[in-house]
Amino acid sequence: MRERIAGGYDNFVIPFMIGIIFLLVYLFIGLIRILKHVPGEDRKRLFLSFVNPKIIIKDLRDIICDCLLHVKIFKRNILLGYMHASIAFGWFMLIVIGHIEVALFVPQRNGSLYYPVFYRFFVAEQNYTLKGAFFFFLMDFFLLIVLGGVGLAMYKRVRSIAMGMRRTTKPCFADRVALYCLWSIFPLRLLAEGFTAGISGGSFLTKPVNMLFANFFGNDLNIYPTWWAYSIALGLFFLAMPFSRYMHIPTEVLLIVMRNAGLKVTRPRKGFAEAEIYSCSSCGICLDACPMNVQKKNINYSSVYFIRFLRRHNTRKINEIADKCLMCGKCVVLCPVGVESCNIKMAQRGTVTEKLPYDYSYLQEIHAPVKEKKEKVLYFAGCMTHLTPSIIKSMQKIFEAAGEDYYFADSDGGLCCGRPLMMAGKKEAAKELIKKNSELFMASGCETIVLSCPICLRVFKEEYRLPGIKLLHHTQYIDSLIKEGRISVNKDDTSFVYHDPCELGRGCKIYDEPRNVVAALGELRHASKEKKESICCGGSVGSLTLNFDDRAKITRESIKALTVENPDKIITACPLCLKTFSDQSMVPVNDIAEAVAEKIA
């Protein structure tokens, strides 16, 4: 290979250089800002993660899978996944190969920002040499891949449903600028490299383009304008990037590294949260996910818009959306980037609610009961379960049938677990309840706590420190009783569908045990949306402002999804879901404990 342009510089690289330098400076400042706002302890944890080989490997794997190959999107929809992967991975390879070419053939240009990008302009090579044939082929090949992706992206704008998306986000101005630049970058590159292929060489893609256009124009006058256009498109894209959704491309890497280091959201807008916010690709998968969107008017309350308003510092809107959210977590598990918007919303609620007065001095008066006997199993029904006595009665029957020596801890009502307070953003207040409850449980001397309420279970698992105590939801407990043969149930031909409560499924990742139990009772049918895609019952204590009528609409939608295969019964495993569904459903609704107690042999 030989340098075609002496000095290795041409004016057309200026727009590109402005863009890329601006972007790099912006990213650098942003990085410093985020690190500054991360609490000291977290910062230490982050730096330590860079010397922990396990975390490094995880970082690399996640970056390759999520940022380049977009495995999560592939799992959702192959075409959508291919679109993302082809652009990201293809572009990445173009950059990498460009740099390899520079390093191998024009090492004197190492370190130049623009040289690898405009390599074909500056360097000439015959395509029949091995070097030329190989690298030029690779470059053309990846360019083709990217072009395919861009084509799909354009098609998606017109018909998103083809890629499994019913709704997509409304792009803002910067999004549009960046989007059109992105669309034009690669076709322009093809043209630029095509026009230049006669001089600099090319491969299966650029050569034919060259010949085609040479026939039209018969001269090389188009070379400069296309390289200029290509450079301008790139420069504009980089300039618009910090203000557009495409900021997710660089930020996601930071997010992955921070998340793997174990960082958590502490403030709604700063530190780790900022990394989350800028990692949002605004793809709009959360639009279809959000259960509130059964009503069109609620679309503006989706996580993607919440994050957009966070970026714009629109406090009124931010609070409005944060308060409305049901905290069902569906947008979080489906988010291809894994933005934990629920945590950001809780932190945001905290900015308002943490300051509010509370008085839990009565906690001091509560003491663990003095008991002679120390039962190994403790049953904690939870506040809500006291409104669904059928669950309590059924659990008592099951405990007796299994011959379990258990203690009913909150038979006369207990303290709240703290999760509702956390969801309202009152973390400090929640800590007081968590501390008191932990004391009481540790004093009981139990080995296992069986809980009926998934809301309690989740906060027990995430926030309580109960060394030596196993936490089980009653679905898990019943499943183990059946597996160990401690109870047996009569199976018949009743058909059931199982509803995954948000806090049990997405919250605690318990999907299989309840299904095992239901399958032991009768025929298990499917819902149109289930497991991690299950639709919230609408009764969630997560939302602060969603009113009763809007909730009822969500309930109906959820029931509709559950009854697509006409089951005889809907089975759920949360007192809140049970109550909410029972009010609306035509199909009988039971808790899993009721269904088991009914058929106990």
Binding site: L387, T388, P389, S390, K393, F548, K579, S582, D583
Partner: protein, 338 residues
């Protein structure tokens, strides 16, 4: 001319309307889905405010329909409008062509098990107002223990309750509760009796007197607070939680028997028929009448008439008056048509 009138529902309303229409010379066809006439009245023991026996009211109503064609155990299979006449196909195979159809399909009692926190069907000592009437009539109910020491009545079960889907007041439960409370006290003089109410609606003639008697003569304790949850003690008694809103304190009480005053909702059987020819229903689930004051008996579909509890909760006297009013409305309708 065809003077057929189809009456759907053989409760007190359907009976009275049929009798009146028959007297006016119409050819009445009355159908009842149950195996006996009388609807809820046939299952009730005594009626407020004076405590008259339900039989005493029902018997004359049944006697009066002499000459009316009626079918028991019969439902409407289909109904549709054929050139100004309704073509009604019945489950017994008979087809009726009738210019006027009177809906006297009445009400269903709110299924008390839907308010799970009250434990109906879960706890042994919880019954409904209807169960209690049956107990009065037969003297038998395993859930009513011998000599109960404390008995509670919960007003507004499935009424005035958005969560139950019924925002409206069912009108008759307050008076029924007071009546039943007095009867229980008479049966079990040693028992303490509590009525948990939100507002006591003693609107009718003689109702306030009944309330006064309940306080003065029977010593019924009225607690202004809605019961929020019920649990079971080890002795299978029920522990009731409410707020005594007048003293502003939460209270609990252990009871031997809890009676739930289940409210009214539009009868499912009536709704099913209504849907066949898309009769309008309001938010509360009851059929929409043409006007809210002047034309209470008419539907906005010509030839369809309403009487009784299918257009909202009503007392028995209200219902019987509506039955007569509907007969007049139907008569006027026939006269206008000719």
């Amino acid at each position: 001319m065809n003077k057929n009138v189809m009456v759907i529902g053989g409760g007190p309303c359907g009976l009275e309307a049929s009798a009146q229409l028959h007297k006016m010379g119409y050819n009445v066809i009355l159908i009842e889905k149950e195996k006996q006439l009388g609807g809820h009245l046939a299952k009730w023991d005594r009626l407020f405010p004076e405590g008259i026996e339900a039989k005493e009211v029902l018997q004359p109503l049944v006697d009066n329909i002499n000459g009316v064609k009626y079918f028991l155990d019969t439902e409407v299979v289909s109904i549709n409008l054929l050139d100004k006449e309704y073509n009604v196909i019945l489950s017994n195979g008979i087809t009726v062509l009738s210019k006027a159809v009177l809906m006297t399909s009445g009400f269903d009692l709110f299924p008390a098990e839907k308010k799970e926190e009250y434990g109906y069907g879960i706890y042994d000592r919880v019954i409904t107002n209807a169960d209690l009437e049956k107990f009065f009539a037969t003297g038998k109910d395993p859930r009513v223990v011998e000599n109960p020491k404390r008995i509670g009545f919960v007003h507004c079960v499935g009424s005035r309750d958005e969560k139950a889907g019924n925002r409206y007041c069912s009108k008759v439960c307050c008076a029924t509760a007071v009546k039943q409370a007095c009867e229980m006290k008479a049966l079990f003089p040693d028992a303490e009796i509590f009525c948990f109410y939100m507002d006591l609606r003693m609107f009718g003639r003689g109702y306030e007197d009944m309330y006064l008697k309940a306080q003065k003569d029977y010593g019924i304790r009225f607690i202004r607070g809605r019961v929020s949850e019920v649990s079971e003690t080890l002795e299978k008694q029920v522990l009731v939680k409410a707020e005594d809103t007048l003293s502003g304190k939460p209270l609990k009480v252990t009871l031997d028997l809890l009676v739930l005053m289940a409210g009214m909702q539009n009868a499912k059987s009536g709704i099913r028929i209504g849907e066949m020819i898309s009769m309008k229903r309001s938010d509360d689930g009851f059929f929409t009448t043409k006007g809210s004051i002047l034309s209470l008996q008419e539907c906005d579909k010509a030839g369809i008439f309403y009487a009784g509890a299918c257009t909202g909760p009503k007392t028995l006297p209200d219902t019987l008056n509506e039955a007569r009013a509907a007969a007049v409305s139907i008569h006027n309708y026939f006269n206008k048509e000719n």
